[in-house]
Symmetry: C2
Subunit: 404 residues, 2 copies
Amino acid sequence: MTDLGKTVVKGGNIQMLGGGNPASIPEVELCLREEMERLLGDGGRFETMIGHYDSPRGNQRFIEALASLFNEEFGWPVEIRNIAITNGSQASFGILFNLFAGEFPDGSIKKILLPMTPEYIGYGDVSLSDHPLFIANRPVIEDHVGDKLFFKYRVDFEKLVVNEEIGAICVSRPTNPTGNVITDSEVHKLSELAAEAGIPLIIDSAYGVPFPGIIFRDAEPIWNDNTILCLSLSKLGLPGARTGIVIASEAITQYLCSANAIYNLAPGGFGPTLINRLVESRELLPLCRQVIKPYYRQRSNEVVKYIREIMSDLPVRIHLSEGAIFLWLWIENLPITGETLYQKLKKRGVFVVAGHHFFPGLQEDWEHKHQCIRVSYAADPAQIREGIKIIAHEIRETYHRAFS
Amino acid sequence: MTDLGKTVVKGGNIQMLGGGNPASIPEVELCLREEMERLLGDGGRFETMIGHYDSPRGNQRFIEALASLFNEEFGWPVEIRNIAITNGSQASFGILFNLFAGEFPDGSIKKILLPMTPEYIGYGDVSLSDHPLFIANRPVIEDHVGDKLFFKYRVDFEKLVVNEEIGAICVSRPTNPTGNVITDSEVHKLSELAAEAGIPLIIDSAYGVPFPGIIFRDAEPIWNDNTILCLSLSKLGLPGARTGIVIASEAITQYLCSANAIYNLAPGGFGPTLINRLVESRELLPLCRQVIKPYYRQRSNEVVKYIREIMSDLPVRIHLSEGAIFLWLWIENLPITGETLYQKLKKRGVFVVAGHHFFPGLQEDWEHKHQCIRVSYAADPAQIREGIKIIAHEIRETYHRAFS
């Protein structure tokens, strides 16, 4: 992923369709600016934010506000002891995955079960042991009835094995990279499987509910004390603040506190303090529902429409865009690998992410892995159109070269 | 350390002399407030700060400004590739110590050599392997000539063994907890020993030079490409921002970038962006020299003076206060352990840190470890006086009970 920090194209424009940066949404930016101005005007709160270490659990006032929000809005029996702040979701996963998987003192080896790949690229590297941390399940591919452009992955419950090798189940909802949103009943089914096996279900809701709420279909926020719900402030518009939130049983948040103390003394206080009033005043969820979600839905629709137009002659299909900020393109029978396509696009200044990175833990070989790319639709619209145009051109060329 | 986040005293006042929170210095707070106001007024910079992931190396503009500062002020041949940002110094150490020590793929086991204990408590817990990460050297205790109140630790170079078991040498300068500052010639000597052994010298300058510069004696900022200099924005007054800075050879900063990418995607952008203009304009070092250093020197002098008055009947000695924000009290022949004294003080609402925590890697038994406590002098002066009074009373009681 360090590749994303480099500028490798000399001259010419760069179309950054690769990264996970959220969009600049004027209403959200204005809201966050006003929050900072309020902090500066609220005798000493700015100084407290910058000048004090939070506790290892994170900013006390923010945690109290979140617990109250979750109680009132969703009836979750969440208390302060059920919440821990981290330096972003990636930090949360690093700690959690190594807690539930890897080699244990008794010599046993456990893994995180990803019930459906493709899954988030960032899970792949966090192992602290020599053993692979993941085992993944291949999905069922469903044709979206009535529109040939779309397809959708489904959890293949028939092939899902939760044996004693599994230390936890983890699913991102919506899924990064595909935009798939598993249904409430699928979540409940996974939750039951986890409970039966005596292991937790980790739900990565970095793009999901309750906030930032970038989900375009019905989806309940779900939590119980066997669920580890991972939230983040990044896709709300605050990636620079590096704030992750974990809601879990007391034992697990206590472990996160210890990890925070040891590796960071305390998590950062900027994000929690900046966003705190919006949680306390209950303005946060309306902002998500009325501004953030509609914004991304419209952007997704526009880009899908543009792809439909410009790639109508190509065997390119899109995963049903149910949430998150990416489109997942499946180029059936692509004559080159997704990695080669990525390299070709990079030379032309267009950054996407090759699909095969998104299958951590999938042991079987699967051609499909090499026929997909992830495209962000959160960047500047003109840049995205230009990028999509180049992608279409490159795919077209590839087919021509292969079949002429 | 999670203890510091809890309020354990019911009723009554709490004197927080235990933590490492920097002082509230009005001039510094005003300066940082003005920087935030400038950011808000500088078309879009606030929005860039909150709304974008930095690269895994950290904020590009800040790194450029730092490289330029180090070049111009100290003549260090530091380029962008020699600097990496982390989420605070504790995060830097976690990555660095596990890079240079622990179990290696070839089966060899290496350790970090701490040439002089006491050393920083936070080093103790970061090991990712089952092997102890540290080996430490007992210091020579030197009486400070002419003033019986003071003593000073010195690196015992005669007993310092840098064999093939050592993966790196690490020293904090000034030392947390003692306020000791090893001399330039001692640094050069350690640097030579490290170079001869083909291992790096890590200098933890979280309180030191070039910034925040909380050092009350002559001390050169020292760097070469076999030195890993760890800086932080915390003791400048920004602990809430969690910003660490590592200056090292390219290979090492590249490793830090990878660790950032894997465990955090990117380090936070708040601290770097807030402080950036002060680095570019060269206002930062004068602020350290003219405001921060004199402030702490005066506070240290005041508290030493108070201890001299109030503990004149007690066998309490203070490590020469050469820097950092702590006083290190040595209570000779204390009839109880420092841990028991800590527990007694905690019950009376006074938080200090028992000395024995500050000897990571010291394998031999040493009575001295149990005769010391660390006291912060950065909190509110009235709170500190009250705390010191209670400490004096408790020590006096202890001696009376033991010897009457």
